[in-house]
């Protein structure tokens, strides 16, 4: 049996912390072990080395949005899974751009939080429906380019189909559906600001064969895009 993944919950509402802890306890495989809970980030900041593999971070602590604190946590060696009631696509995108491994909305928690934590611990992509929604809504000029198939898989996933159904709808295997969706996430890890967590996600995606280094486009401005940028080369940054 693999070693348990250790997790810390940073959440200012004790009832939510209790709920998350119960989801972790009720995981049949007992794959995750809760090692720390806190109502703010001071404890994590003062620790000399990461006290947990993954931090489940409520994005709003004591009335303040803490998305901008994510880079500091990531730099300290934590993998961050954001868990929030804010499902505004702009906040979701910002959370991922700052280096969080995944975003799980509070509505999705029961079905997705433990899985997202496990995926994050392995530096593997985990795309919730709320994350898919934010990516579909992304209209920033610097957004990564998605293929038709990737976009379709993401749309059907957002719409609420299971990945197996998405596969049947698109006449591809469930595994290919996962591949498409993971590739979208990897493309986002390759874009925007740099973060060690994004590099780790990307390296793992390349290792797993989700994406080839050549498929990772560096950021293209409108002017450069017109100038036919070569697509081969290093993973962006």
């Amino acid at each position: 049996m693999e070693q348990q993944v250790t997790v810390a919950i940073i959440e200012d509402h004790p009832v939510v912390t209790e709920g998350v802890a119960s989801w972790i306890r009720s995981d049949p495989g007992q794959r995750v072990r809760l090692v720390q809970t806190a109502r703010d980030l001071t404890g994590l900041r003062s620790a000399p080395r990461p006290s947990a593999d993954v931090v489940i971070l409520d994005l709003e602590l004591l009335g303040e949005l803490v998305t901008t604190q994510i880079p500091e946590l990531v730099a300290a060696g934590y993998r961050v899974v954001a868990f929030s009631g804010h499902s505004d696509p702009v906040i979701v995108m910002e959370t991922l751009d700052h280096g969080a491994h995944a975003y799980v909305s509070k509505d999705e928690g029961r079905d997705h939080l433990v899985e997202a934590v496990l995926a994050a611990a392995a530096d593997r992509p985990y795309v919730t429906r709320s994350q898919a929604r934010a990516i579909l809504a992304d209209r920033r000029p610097a957004r990564p380019e998605l293929s038709q198939q990737e976009r379709q898989a993401l749309l059907l996933w957002f719409q609420g189909m299971s990945k197996a159904s998405v596969g049947r709808r698109m006449s591809i295997s469930e595994n290919t559906v996962r591949q498409y969706i993971s590739r979208v996430r990897a493309k986002y890890a390759a874009s925007g600001r740099t973060a060690p967590s994004k590099d780790a996600l990307l390296a793992r995606a390349i290792e797993d064969g989700v994406i080839k280094p050549g498929e990772i486009m560096p950021y293209k401005s409108f002017a450069q895009a017109a100038a036919d940028y070569p697509s081969e080369g290093a993973p962006g940054r």
Binding site: A134, F158, G160
Partner: protein, 367 residues
Amino acid sequence: MTAVPPTTIMSGRYQRAFTIAVVVLVAGWHLAGAGGQLLDYRPAYGSFAFQGAMWLVMALGIAAGSLLVLRGAPGWRPAWAVAVIALAASTAAAAASPAAQMLAVNWAWGSAGWMGVLVLLHRRFAELAWFLAAEALATLGVQVWDGLDRTNLAGFLALLAWSTGAQVAVAAGVRALDLAAGQAAAAAASEHAARERAATAEIIRAARHARWLALQEGAVPLVAELAVGTADPGDAQVRIRCAVQAARLRRLLAEGDEVPGSLVHELHASADVAERRGVAVEIETAGALPQVPGPARRVITDAAIAILTAARSQTRITLAAVAAGIAVSFVADTGAVVPLPAVGEGVAIEQQEDDGMLWAEARWNSR
């Protein structure tokens, strides 16, 4: 937003009125004032034809300048081109006048000054001042060339005070009126904005009130029953009621203040009916949704009602902006496909039944 702020419209309207007034004033002066003087002193000029030609040049300059200012604030090049024509023509006319009577028969100074006012009115005040000074200096220069004595120096100063004074006064007056119009328009705009804010606040308040009422009839009694123990969380029926109320609460929180008449709003209304029957409904949107025309909306909401009616316990409705349109999808536990039209009013509907779950998508394209 494509709407022009009311401030701009109003002060623009006033500004145009002032511009038209100045055009009429300048044209009237050149026609009646300068033209009358020119005809009056007709025998005094060495060459009446030359004076007439200069008058015509300036008349054309006034026509061009009027067109420029009526089409909007002219740039410095066209404005100064007209001003320089005025300066040159008036100086030439003065120089060609008989030396002894130059100031007495000079019709051009006044017209040239008014032309300057016309084209430089909405530019910096210093530009007009420079122009009027140059015009006065040119006329004085001609007089010095002809010979300057105390009598005609006094005449020059009197004319300067009379014509330039009037021109400066008009320019300053229009500026003051412009300023006042801007203030009046700003005041009107802020009143308009305040009214709009009040109306928006009222709509939001009404929407909040409606949400609060919805909670009163659904979630509040359920929580009360759970608290006193008359509802047992172990009972499947109670769990379904909880799921429905939870979905409803989530929806109410996420709802924001939708614009009435939008597709989302109509789908919410359909969802309300299904919820009363015990179906938990989620509605989510992705991206900036386009406005869907009424008939197409009707096809989509009819599909929604058919699916919600067939759903046993849950339905997820999503609205996503897709290239050139919108994809409205439904994932529901209907157990079978639902009889729906395949196309209608520009909406194409597809369905797939898989493991007891129905997926249906209605796509509307703007093209």
